[in-house]
């Protein structure tokens, strides 16, 4: 089983690399170097803050865009090209293994992409600050949270890919990402309602992914420490939520007639 999962995951990664996904790294490098020079000249006292905000935002947004655009095609492309039936029928691969393998492959692609960007990002921070200190460990925490974002959005894109067309899947995925950034507001609104509305709103508020708690970019830009408890809880939350989304994906995919 592990071997089959690994084979699907590695093939997904290889396909993504062949699709020139890593080309975004060049754009990222230009953005980081350019912003350091430009903001240094046209702004006041915020060189390092801009670099951190821009660098981490770019790592996050690039990853989310890649996750959505590749994620939505993971299943639908295989169906369209008629290769899915071959994989599932001709080889001893179960449907849940296919979904999980695809998911792991894309997460692997995004992790490699984010790590390469992080190397460039830290080099730029070192250039601007002249040294890296213990305080910069907070930046690693922010990057870890960004990776958790990728895990969730990949699972969601994959879920939409199991039952919808690529265009609608991308719209759904971007919408759910945007709504997820308002997760805390939704829960506040839910608390203000009563009766059936309260239960419906609360349910909806907890159903959407909580992306808000994973964004600590502003916080680390001001050298404010991230609580270890938040790291633990976010990790557990993402694992639970992603497992739930993958379960839903497998459930839908198992019921699909692929012939």
């Amino acid at each position: 089983m592990i071997g089959r999962l690994w084979a699907i995951a590695f093939n997904t990664y290889r396909e993504a690399v062949r699709d020139r996904v890593l080309y975004n790294l060049i754009l990222f490098a230009l953005l980081i170097v350019g912003s350091s020079i430009v903001f240094g000249q046209i702004s006041l006292e915020i060189n390092r803050i801009v670099l951190i905000n821009l660098g981490l935002t770019a790592i996050s947004l690039f990853g989310i865009v890649i996750a959505i655009f590749i994620g939505i095609g993971l299943v639908s492309k295989e169906i369209e090209k008629k290769t899915l039936y071959t994989v599932l029928a001709a080889r001893p691969v179960r449907r849940w293994e296919f979904i999980t393998g695809k998911f792991l492959g894309l997460v692997m692609t995004l992790t490699v992409n984010a790590l390469l960007m992080s190397v460039g990002f830290f080099a730029a921070v070192l250039y601007v600050s002249h040294r890296l200190g213990r305080g910069d460990l907070q930046l690693v925490t922010a990057i870890y949270f960004i990776l958790l974002e990728f895990v969730m959005i990949t699972a969601l894109a994959l879920l939409f890919s199991t039952f919808s067309t690529p265009v609608f899947s991308s719209i759904f995925a971007f919408a759910i990402f945007a709504i997820g950034t308002f997760g805390e507001d939704l829960r506040s609104i839910a608390r203000m309602t009563s009766g059936v509305t309260h239960w419906a709103m609360t349910g909806a508020a907890y159903l959407v992914p909580n992306f808000a708690a994973l964004n600590v970019i502003s916080q680390v830009a001001h050298d404010t420490a991230v609580e270890p408890k938040l790291i633990l809880l976010n990790t557990l939350y993402v694992l639970a939520y992603t497992a739930a989304v993958l379960t839903a994906s497998v459930w839908i995919f198992e019921r699909r007639n692929l012939k």
Partner: protein, 314 residues
């Protein structure tokens, strides 16, 4: 010459020509639209809406807004504008997007409080901005200094200023001179001496280039104010002894009231025009309250001997 080479060269030349043409056209369009009031447009006036639209990436948006503040202020300042219409909302927007961005309060309070054309001339707004900053960053002692500065130098309220310096002096890590400033203001010490003490300490305690430049400029202006007062005293003494105003510095030197030609911190000799003392280049001393040419200071009053520095400034 192969076909591919010909196609490549033709396309390259055509591309270069078209891009050059479009650049020229954009420059022409910019020239026509030069007077468009784009600078005064806020696009989205609500900080709450902008924050929601940032999808959690509000830090980067705050940096962009802060850069817009700096550019807006710089452009207006260079044009010696008397109105900074969107400075306050821009600063409020930036502070709402990232309440921890301290330069917004440090520099924003100066931009807002200084009299036009040096700033927006709205010290009340500056004090409110810094108070908001203190609420969000209660451990940042420099913000109490900013507040004290606005109350003292721009609002002439030494009681509130002393209270601000005193509150700041109790924050861990605050510079010891914050307490001295509070005490000096409570004791109603001379304004010029207290200001000189404050700016000298700021100059000594900061590595920030902008702050150092500002402190040096402030200290030079304070020296001018002090010089002009000293020269005015000498002129008054001459008038008492001779029953008339002096017509040149030489008369004061001959009378033993001056040791030599008085020069400002840039090395230029002060002018003596119709009994009025003036700096040679007022533009080099943006914060002086004395030694300005006639009409340069709001509140200058005409007298039978031309313009004279108002009494409250002497």
């Amino acid at each position: 010459m192969t076909r591919n080479w010909r196609i490549g060269t033709s396309c390259g030349l055509l591309l270069a020509a078209l891009l050059t043409a479009s650049t020229i056209l954009v420059r022409q369009v910019d020239r026509i639209r030069d007077d468009e009031p784009l600078q005064e447009v806020l696009y989205i006036p609500s900080p709450a809406v902008v924050k929601r639209m940032s999808l959690g990436y509000s830090g980067l948006l705050a940096d962009i807004y802060w850069t817009r503040v700096v550019q807006y202020f710089g452009t207006k300042h260079r044009a010696k504008s008397k109105q900074y219409l969107i400075l306050r909302p821009l600063l409020e927007m930036t502070a709402a997007l990232d309440p921890k961005l301290l330069p917004v309060y440090h520099f924003g309070s100066v931009f807002l409080s200084q009299k036009p054309p040096e700033g927006a001339g709205d010290p009340q707004a500056a004090a409110e901005l810094v108070e908001k900053g203190i609420q969000q960053n209660p451990q940042a002692w420099r913000l109490y200094y900013d507040l004290g500065y606005v109350y003292w130098l721009e609002m002439k309220d030494s009681v509130k200023a002393a209270a601000a310096f005193d509150r700041g002096s109790k924050i861990p890590g605050a510079q010891p001179w914050m307490r001295v400033m509070a005490a000096a203001l409570e004791a109603h010490a001379g304004e010029t001496e207290t200001a000189t003490y404050m700016w000298t300490n700021i100059l000594k305690s900061t590595d920030d280039d902008n702050l150092r430049k500002n402190a040096i400029s402030r200290l030079r202006c304070l020296r001018v104010d002090s010089d002009v007062k000293r020269l005015q005293d000498a002129m008054d003494e001459f008038t008492k002894q001779n029953g008339r105003l002096p017509v040149s510095w030489q008369e004061l030197i001959s009378a033993g009231l001056l040791y030599g030609l008085p020069v400002d911190p840039r090395g230029d000799v002060y002018k003596l025009v119709d009994g009025r003392i003036q700096v040679a280049e007022p533009d080099h001393f943006p914060f002086i309250t004395r030694g300005l040419p006639p009409g340069a200071e709001i509140g200058d009053v005409p007298t039978d001997k031309g313009f004279k520095v108002p009494k409250h400034l002497l």
